[in-house]
Symmetry: C2
Subunit: 460 residues, 2 copies
Amino acid sequence: MAQKPSIPKGTRDFGQLEMARRNYIFDTIRSVFGLYGFQQIETPAMENIGTLMGKYGEEGDKLLFRIQNSGEKAASAPEKGLRYDLTVPFARYVVQHREEIAFPFKRFQIQPVWRADRPQKGRYREFYQCDVDVIGSDSLIGELELIQIVEEVYRRLGIRVCLHINNRKILAGIAEVIGAPDKIVDITVAIDKLDKIGVEAVNAELKERGLSDEQVEALQPILNLNGSTLEKLTALKTILATSEIGLKGVAEMEEIFSLVEATTSSLERVKSSARSDAQWSSVEPSGEGFSIDLDLCLARGLNYYTGAIFEVKALDAQIGSITGGGRYDNLTGIFGLPNVSGVGISFGADRIYDVLTELNLFPAALQSSTQVLFAAFGQDELRYALRWAKELRANGIAVEVYPEPAKMKKQMGYADTKQIPFVAIVGGDEMAQNKVMLKNMTSGEQKLVELGELVKLLNC
Amino acid sequence: MAQKPSIPKGTRDFGQLEMARRNYIFDTIRSVFGLYGFQQIETPAMENIGTLMGKYGEEGDKLLFRIQNSGEKAASAPEKGLRYDLTVPFARYVVQHREEIAFPFKRFQIQPVWRADRPQKGRYREFYQCDVDVIGSDSLIGELELIQIVEEVYRRLGIRVCLHINNRKILAGIAEVIGAPDKIVDITVAIDKLDKIGVEAVNAELKERGLSDEQVEALQPILNLNGSTLEKLTALKTILATSEIGLKGVAEMEEIFSLVEATTSSLERVKSSARSDAQWSSVEPSGEGFSIDLDLCLARGLNYYTGAIFEVKALDAQIGSITGGGRYDNLTGIFGLPNVSGVGISFGADRIYDVLTELNLFPAALQSSTQVLFAAFGQDELRYALRWAKELRANGIAVEVYPEPAKMKKQMGYADTKQIPFVAIVGGDEMAQNKVMLKNMTSGEQKLVELGELVKLLNC
């Protein structure tokens, strides 16, 4: 036999079980998006190269996959590139279709993106992104709804999470009050690493990046801020008293927490306050698998965020952020439509998949969609099985008929491999009685059943 | 403002309504596939260029989109190309994963493909294919199940169709008995056009393609064959008496029609025979929107078919084939795994979309997923609305809250544009009574309702 064919490095085939599991994740997310009126769009895999170039920094430009048209002469065909993320195509979409869109525009998008990154464990050249955004409104109800969506998605998936939240305006205020307003990027990049490398290393990095000893010193109260959300925000109001933008950031956070509180039922609040002295008990609205943490060390790399920023971490798995995003004020400016504010988050499907696998949280039913396999002893039995199968399918039951009267061992082996829970065996005796011998593949039990019984049994 | 951004020619953005409609088509197809135990797989958008080249003929090679990696030197990176169809990647998948696969392997795949074709009306450079195949069994139950799937998918979509069926072995037999076995491709290409160009033009083309007058003459009884399915097959047995392969093809068709008949309930048969004298009344099993036609002029262009071939046409729209496929014996041979028989069909999503649009068959509910929009007069009312929204969503109802207390006209306009059927208006009076003013956007009727009433009303 020839050498086995293969696929490009960094890409993946998804088999049936992986697809069932991926669809479970996407369907869960999609149905929660639907409850909030977000609607799906899709954009082409390829964009004009001008749409993509210069949007992801110099490094990003290098990671674009470019497309050549075999048939056309290179010079005559306008250059194209594969979608690198969903954000830039979304911005392009909004500008291109702005006259058809009802603002505020609530859209989600679940599509693959491609990056010519060096492939490594957990990093692929083709992977799905799953983005949800509301654009064309600066109401903080956008932030509230995204928080509620995060809570509901992870509740449905059974993953306990903490949503870390911060605000770029607070970070800008901090840079301002320590006298280094031009260093905001350096400061955020450094303090973003606080969790990973610790305060000493962060301070060293800040100095390397050009902050004076005094400036680093001035930053320490913020790096060490703790207490309840209310306490942190109160302290910040003092620290940022001279920074207009900083105070604006604090006010936004107060409003967001107040909206979360306003939509938390009194029952949930009672549950939560029983376990916490914090004033804004609503930071743990569900009291169980979901909490919100005002995390002043959260910065997120992307430059276009201008308000709230989010990152979600699974409590029971060490895997980094599984969802993240934030508020931006000028996403569409690059395509000539300035001053459109929006807020959005992105669910990391691959990481969510890994968390669900690690914590063994995928429903067992995803193993097989087929509820029963018909195994027949001969051609007549096969036709008999086909008639039963038709009836069962008309009742919404997923059925397979093994297509040949093969050895019973082979047919059973097929059911085993596909993890089909029941096999309906058809021989001459069963046909004579107008029944099938139903075998439970888990318990091994067998019993003769009529068609009506079988429908009832499988419809449970 | 800068020039509006655009997308590459031959590609499309799909807005919310288009996406809802496309998802309706794919979800319908997917759920029917599921009833038969077909499971979804996905393959990467890019394949190694060697996997694709030479698989689609010289023309196809020219239509491949090739991918360049911006960062890598052209020489160091193995060449890649975008998926041109789902068939070749599927064959590659089967060979690559043959040790993990349980045969017969029933898979479906719904993904975009890319072709550098000249874009024109109805022909795109990026479009979805939707393929379903069973591979690793030569049982004609494969053909039966695909016929049943076609019937059920179009029944659910409400499209009346005729499934045209033929067999490549019969076509080979015909070439053999007229003494032109090497001309089978020329013969099938020519008679494939019978519907479009008529018998005279087909005869002329056959002569151009090198058939003698006698050979063309010998072909006439076949081109003019009519009557019931049984009559056609009986006549063919005489015509093809000296061709082993031809008789094999006839036997396969007899078996397929017999399987369809065996799985057609007596009730359906009674209904059907009341309107037809044909013996195999099962050719119209549902008696309504579905019929099967043994069509000896059906050839289909692709060379790899070796048995039954299918094409489905909508009865009420002039749009060509909306589903097609057939039996192949050597799909995986190109990748070194010979003698694996399979049968598959492909649903043409774009054409199905056009038929549903033309016949106005899309469910109206696809217009909006949101059932009610909350429109508030002020900030307090907004918080009140957010609490109600949370309750409704907990009951599975899709809700939006207009994120600002904007002018009522603006909020109503938003509901209109998004075709949201109800608006819940919240002012001070409504809050005082613990109610909302519910406006039916179709009838214009308004009434005060409590939360429980609203849940009941929207859950219907």
